[in-house]
Structure formats: C-alpha cells, structure tokens
Symmetry: C2
C-alpha cells in the first residue's frame, strides 16, 4: 500500500513519461523482497548519477514502470582502489564494502607475488555484488569492477592529477586521503605484499606511503580502511 | 632453518628462563602452518601487552618452548565498538576486521529492532577469530569479545571520560575519532537501525552523531569504517 522503500538499478532509464522494463534481478527484488504492487512508487538509479521516481504499472513475470521524474548529479570526487589478490574468497567482501563506501572503481592488479587467477567468473559475480551494494546503500553511482591488469600497466595509465596513496605499515600515519577534492587512488599489495620493485615503481609514480593502522592489515582490510578514510570526507 | 616468522598467542607466558607449553591451536599453527623445528625462535604475545621471544624445545604433539625475553607495553589509546546485530553471518567478518584494526573490545548490543540470538556458540567462535586476527596482524593486545547486553545497559555503564560516537547517516561528517588519546567508543545500530528512543538515550549519554560516508552503510561496514578512522591515528 502506498510507497515502498524500493530502490533499484535500471541502467537505461529512458526519459520522463516513458515506460521502462526492470532488469530481471531488479524485478525479482521488487516483487519478492519488497512485495511491491502496481501503483507503488519506487526509486531507481542508472548508476551514472541519475535518480528517478518510477510508478509501477505491471508487476508479474515482467515488471514495468512509468518514469515520473529524473534528477541527475555529477560526481564531485572519486576513489579508485587498486588491489592485489587477497587470500581465498576475501575479494567478495572487499568488493561489497568498497561499493557501499562509494568507491568509483575497483581495479584488481596482478603482482609479482600474487595474481588474480580465474577471475572471469569472479568479475561477473563482483559486478552483481556491486549492484546489490548500490541498492543497499541507495547510491546513484555504480562501482565499476575492472578486469585485472598488471600493476605496472595500471601505474603507467594513472591520471596525472590524481592524489595517490600506497598502503604500507611503514608509511606515514594520520594522512588525510578524505580531503582531496578530485580523484584519489590507493594501491594495496596482495597478501604477500608488493615486491620492492613494484612499491618503488608506485612511489616513483607519485604514490605516497600511508600507514593505515598500528598492526599489519590483510589486503582486503587495508583496501576497505583506506576507502573508509576517503568516504569520511564525502558530502 | 633458523628463525621462522611464527607469531603465537600464549595467554600465560610465565617468566624469562621458564618453559611454556603452547596451547593446542598455537601448537598446530607452529607445526603445520609454519613448519617450525626445535631450536627455531618464535614470537609470542599474551594478548595483554607482553611480547616474548621463545626458543622451541620440543615440536610434536606437544610444543614446548623456553622464554628467552619478555618486553611489556601498556595500551595508550583504545577503541570499543558497540554493535547491534547485522544481517546473517556478517558478525564474523566484523569481528575479524575490528581485531585486525586493533579494537580493544567488541560489545554486541541487543536493540529494540534486533537482538543477537543464539550467541553462545558465536561468542566462542568470535574469540577464536580474534586470536587468529591477533596472530595475523602481529598485535600484542587481544581484542576482547564481550557477551551481548542491552544497549541501555551498555550506555549506563560507559566510562565517563570516553570519547563517544554514534554512527548516523544524518550525523556530522569529517569528524576525527582518531585524534582522541584515551578511550573512544562507537555505537552502531543493528541492520534496522537504532530505535529513536535508543538513539536519544545514547545522545543524552554524550554520544556525538558521526556521518561515516555519503550513503547508507550496513551495520558491520559502519563499525569497521569507524574503527578504520580510529586506527589511522595509531602509533
């Protein structure tokens, strides 16, 4: 009855006044989880900054809605996390948490001491996890999950204006990655750490060593901790 | 051959010159994971600030070692996390991450909208996870895992000098929980949030509302994010 708190991801929102069909996963979410009915209002994002008010027209195997209004926003600041492979399936929760915290991109990096093996299926799963986290946190920007690349290739292609950080227990404590207005990037080594040549390459590419905690952190913990520092400065 | 990187938890370290028997889990870790041999040196903590150098005497079903040196430290600053029940088994990773980040205590709190049911077995599992994280992060203080209490009881018993925070998407952004020198406490609501009366009670008890990110965070994400802000100020 009335408006439900549903929040869904609809990559192609169309225009105000038009009708849209919800993607299968979102249709399932709206009908089975939120138990929405025809006439209910829901909120949708295209994951690229648009937030739309939808009115459900048909709820069944297909869920259709009318677009009542759309409001668009630009990203003001953004965070990328480059991360070496952690142990086991710890990448899953890292992806979920980075997406909740509002990272713009998750870039798995292959390193001397660990590579992301068999990531084909994992990248697809991570993209689903990022969508689930988008809904959960009611964000209007979907986190991009990139294909793994070697860390040297990522470093060579880094945007020059970015504020760049290297997670390192021997780094400087108390640095404020949350205060930078544009793009911030954090590089986190795999479970065995970056090789000295990799850390040196990053440092010569302008990455500043940051100490995130007093003890040693696992790769996924360092990635999420840095992103939490960054997210604390969000509007 | 020679020194291994083993780091173990031995609650009763005894005195320099004495012998100690490693607890079963630690003995298994030293023999099966680190493949240590008699004569190897290892590092041990009692989880209460002592760091000891041990020399392995016997490695087998029982692992015995001689205590070569002990050095003790006091905690300078500490963090407690009070957290309502998150969804599913998400408490497990919260405990692991809070322990890695160096929290002093994890206090599950029962709330109007969610209680920690069947926590008997979970508290025991969490204590094992805290020990595993102590080893992983090579810390000298073991995180204390407390039994669940109602949030009002926790609030009534809070130490008066503590710096207290309430995770709230409508709170103030950019606050620095990492800068307080003594005890800091963060209260995080369960998956449905604190009831207004609970949030009001905390606020009247001196808890300041802090906004940790731009979107809604899951309970466990808020707890870990706050602890990451706190940990960034660690020596």
């Amino acid at each position: 009855v009335g408006d439900t708190p549903s929040f869904v991801y609809v990559p192609d929102l169309g225009a105000v006044g038009a009708g849209v069909a919800l993607p299968d996963d979102e249709a399932h979410y709206v009908t089975r989880v939120c138990r929405a009915r025809p006439g209910d209002g829901i909120t949708a994002t295209d994951g690229r900054g648009a937030l739309a008010r939808l009115r459900l027209l048909a709820v069944g195997r297909e869920v259709r809605a009318a677009v009542e209004s759309i409001e668009r926003a630009e990203r003001r600041r953004s965070a990328w996390v480059w991360c070496g492979a952690p142990e086991g399936e710890r990448g899953d929760w890292m992806v979920e948490k980075l997406a909740e915290l509002g990272a713009q991109a998750f870039q798995p990096v292959d390193c001397v001491r660990a590579s992301w093996r068999g990531t084909g299926a994992r990248v697809a799963r991570w993209r689903r996890l990022a969508i689930a986290a988008l809904r959960q946190s009611r964000r209007r920007f979907l986190m991009e999950v990139r294909e793994p690349v070697p860390v040297a290739m990522a470093a060579a292609a880094r945007p020059p204006a970015a504020s760049c950080w290297l997670a390192d227990p021997a780094g400087v404590k108390g640095l404020p990655p949350g205060s930078h207005p544009g793009l911030s990037i954090c590089a986190v080594g795999p479970s065995g750490g970056f090789a000295p040549a990799e850390a040196g390459l990053l440092e010569s590419s302008g990455f500043a060593r940051i100490r995130l905690a007093g003890g040693r952190l696992r790769a996924e913990t360092a990635a999420v901790s840095w992103c939490a520092l960054w997210a604390a400065g969000e509007e």
